[in-house]
């Protein structure tokens, strides 16, 4: 799981990693074992790992774990709180409890620096322009926005949803966050899109790689957004 | 001894209705079915073969057709449909060999089967076409291949729906003579009445799905033919006749 890489690194456990999937940039010493969606079983067997950390890919991971006889850890946090919970669980498994306590404490510290927002903006988060998909309440982004003092428009109880532009108009968001990154590579700025002519909203562009992964970065994102909200209301 | 016996046969489809009270056909008889287009000749053949299901009884050697399993039927009778097709690129030889299917032991053709096919190819003047693909034949050649397939089946009763359609006069004569010289029962709708009269013993005249008459050659009078076809018929005028050399 690419999102968990950050946690492992911060837990000082980098040297324990023997294999990683192709889009994990950390851990230069680890061997690449294919993509996270379709890892290479032979290579993993050859590395003979004790623990597999994966995100949501239940089907293959279970079969795989059975085959190579390793323990499985699912890293699937949906809220800030769960990030910290799963961090400590993971730390237990790899015996890094002290580092975990420190790391978790540091995150709580970040949240303490938040400014209160009086005039809470209604926020919508665009994941891709075509087809138009937005973040749902199971996405970590929802919790980030809430923690930063915004109102996350409840689009549905999922990570991402195909969405209807007219429903966005009808929800009258005050802030329209659009991510740019591998998933949404060259979107046109929403302010210039004809369909949002009547939308009385601010537009904020963010970097997908910074925002979409649920790890310690998420706490920094809360801070950044909070600052933005604060400046915006003045 | 009646080999084929049809009693009270009834079949209807849309506004067409076929009705046959009683026909018995003895082993070895050559029976031509005469009648206009749409009078029910092909339908009758299909009923006799069990390809269509009517009311009434059809029995072969006193056994009801219903009770004869499919694979046994192929040993009782063979059929040349009015139109036939082969959709895959099979060659002539292969198609003729198909006729041996009811006799194939296990799952492949014996040398005996192949020898018989060879003979059929020769009888029907197809040896030079044996490797040709079926779809690359002229109309008459295709018809002969299908005839060879049917004869190759060596069933005691042979149903031939207009066997001479598309055939030239020589091959027509060859085939009718071939059939005439054998013991099999032949039941065949034919449109060329002079040919029918020459090669068949018995004539079933159909009109609008009903049996108008069931006669032998000398009873096939111009009057009867007039009634069957609604044409004027005279007897004995000059014409070419043809004889196989």
């Amino acid at each position: 799981a690419p999102a968990a890489a950050d946690i492992i690194e911060k837990l000082d456990a980098s040297e324990m990693v023997v294999g990683k999937t192709r889009n994990v940039e950390e851990f230069p010493q680890a061997q690449k074992v294919g993509s996270h969606i379709r890892p290479n079983l032979e290579l993993i067997t050859a590395l003979d790992p004790d623990l597999l950390i994966i995100s949501s890919n239940k089907f293959f991971s279970q079969e795989m774990a059975k085959k190579i006889d390793a323990e499985l850890f699912y890293y699937t946090p949906e809220t800030l709180e769960e990030i910290l919970q799963q961090t400590s669980q993971l730390a237990q498994l790899i015996d890094r409890k002290d580092q975990a306590l420190k790391l978790i404490g540091a995150q709580w510290q970040k949240l303490k620096r938040l400014e209160p927002i009086k005039n809470k903006p209604k926020v919508i988060y665009e994941i891709t322009e075509v087809p138009l998909t937005v973040a749902g309440s199971k996405n970590i982004i929802a919790d980030i926005i809430k923690a930063a003092g915004g109102i996350f428009i409840n689009t549905g109880h999922r990570k991402m949803l195909r969405f209807n532009p007219e429903a966005i108009l009808a929800q009258k968001p005050n802030l329209y966050i659009w991510q740019v990154g591998p998933m949404n590579q060259a979107p046109s700025p929403p302010a210039e899109r004809g369909q949002y002519r009547l939308l009385q909203a601010d537009y904020l562009q963010v970097d997908q790689l910074q925002f979409s992964r649920a790890n310690t970065r998420s706490f920094d994102n809360v801070l950044e957004l909070n600052t933005y909200f604060h400046e915006r209301q003045n | 001894m009646a080999e084929l016996r049809v009693e009270n046969l009834q079949f209807s489809r849309d506004d067409f209705r076929l009705q046959l009270d009683m026909v018995e056909i003895k082993s070895g008889e050559k029976v031509a079915i005469l009648g206009e287009n749409g009078s029910g000749k092909s339908t009758l053949l299909q009923l006799l073969c069990g390809l269509l299901q009517g009311h009434g009884t059809i029995s072969y050697n006193n056994q009801s057709l219903q009770e004869i399993p499919f694979n046994k039927r192929a040993q009782l009778f063979s059929l040349l449909p009015q139109f036939s097709e082969v959709i895959f690129p099979f060659c002539v030889e292969e198609v003729v060999l198909f006729g041996r299917f009811p006799h194939a032991q296990g799952n492949s053709f014996s040398d005996e089967d192949k020898k018989l096919s060879e003979q059929q190819l020769e009888k029907l003047d197809l040896l030079h076409l044996r490797k040709r693909q079926f779809t690359q034949l002229s109309g008459g050649e295709k018809r002969r291949v299908m005839l060879a397939r049917v004869l190759n089946q060596q069933a005691p009763i042979i149903y031939l729906d207009e066997p001479n359609s598309s055939l030239d006069i020589r091959h027509t004569l060859e085939i009718f003579e071939l059939l005439g010289g054998r013991n099999e029962t032949v039941i065949s709708p034919v449109h060329d009445i002079n040919l029918a009269e020459r090669f068949f013993d018995r004539f079933l005249l159909l009109k609008h799905g009903r049996l108008l008459a069931d006669v032998t050659g000398d009873q096939l009078t111009p009057e009867l033919l007039t009634e069957t076809y609604d044409v004027q018929v005279t007897c004995g005028t000059a014409a070419f006749t043809f004889q196989h050399q």
Partner: protein, 316 residues
């Protein structure tokens, strides 16, 4: 019959303008409501109608031209080769307005390839053509799979795009598609008599004075262009092109005058209905991919027809 259907169609159009995630009072709309209605809802409803008509029309022509009841935008390779371009454009992160253009481009390349492959000694054999098309379909789908695999990050965009839907509709695109549809419809309607003759064997058709090869080529090219334009704007919406022509043949006879008209109309009707459902079936603004509803709606109706009127489908 024709008039009744047109009436039903118009009523459906009007009704589905009022269906969606936001309720609109049609008589005294607020400015936002007006804007939603005229700027988003109406063009989208019209767009779905136009796309439905394009797909229905192309299928009607394909089946006759290729003499195969399974001929449609998939089996001729048109849909996949167009989708391929769109998928690559999305995966490579090209500017979005380019997506339809590139899709159209690969669609036309696919078309040209299939056409070249199916011609020997100047003669086009429909069986060869459909085999070439189906291989084109499979190869293009394989490359799409590869893109899904290779550009993992774009996976969900690609998958959702492929499922089909009316993503961004503006009056410009709508006008473009409507013009293409109109052009194709008039062209085919002007050749309806000739298209009918393709139901005969080649020799009979030819001896009636039509250049069978040329007619096939024109019909194939225009139908594929229709599909390419439709797919490039909306992703892959299956089913309409395959089933709607069978349905209209079974209900209104084989004559291409009728079949062209009813295939277009029923295609439009089906997609307008399916899109209205896809917009409103999940409360709160989330959308179901329209292809899912099309297939379910159409599938059930088709299976019903297959049970009740099968003799009117094909080969009598």
């Amino acid at each position: 019959m024709k008039k009744l259907l047109i009436l039903i169609f118009v009523i459906t159009l009007a009704t589905s303008c009022l269906i969606g995630s936001t309720a609109i009072n049609p008589f005294s709309p607020s400015p936002v409501e007006r804007d939603i209605l005229l700027g988003l809802r109406l063009p989208r409803v019209l767009f779905s109608a136009v796309i439905g008509a394009m797909l229905g029309l192309s299928g009607s022509v394909y089946q006759l031209t290729l003499k195969n009841p399974l001929a449609d935008s998939f089996t001729t390779g048109a849909a996949s080769s167009s989708a391929l371009g769109a998928v690559l454009a999305i995966a490579l992160g090209l500017p979005l307005p380019l997506v339809p253009l590139i899709a159209l481009g690969t669609g036309l390349i696919g078309l040209f390839t299939v056409y070249r492959l199916s011609k020997t000694n100047g003669v086009i054999n429909p069986v060869t053509m459909i085999l070439a098309g189906v291989v084109m379909n499979i190869v293009a789908s394989a490359v799409i799979s590869f893109a899904k695999y290779f550009f993992e990050d774009s996976l969900s965009s690609i998958v959702f795009w492929l499922m089909g839907g009316f993503f961004v509709v503006d009056w410009g695109k709508l006008t473009l598609c409507a013009v293409v549809l109109l052009f194709a419809y008039l062209l085919f309607a002007g050749k309806a008599l000739q298209l009918n003759l393709l139901a005969l064997d080649e020799h009979s058709a030819q001896s009636l004075g039509i250049n069978v090869d040329r007619l096939r080529t024109v019909a194939f090219v225009v139908a594929t262009a229709l599909v390419a334009v439709a797919v490039s704007h909306t992703g892959i919406i299956g089913f309409v092109g395959l089933i709607v022509p069978h349905v209209s043949r079974s209900l209104f006879g084989s004559d291409m005058h009728n079949n062209l008209f009813f295939s277009s109309l029923l295609g439009a009707l089906l997609l307008v209905l399916a899109d209205a459902a896809s917009r409103s079936i999940i409360p709160g603004g989330a959308e179901l991919p329209v292809g899912i509803i099309t297939a379910l709606l159409g599938g059930v109706f088709f299976l019903y027809l297959l049970q009740t009127r099968r003799e009117r489908f094909w080969h009598g």
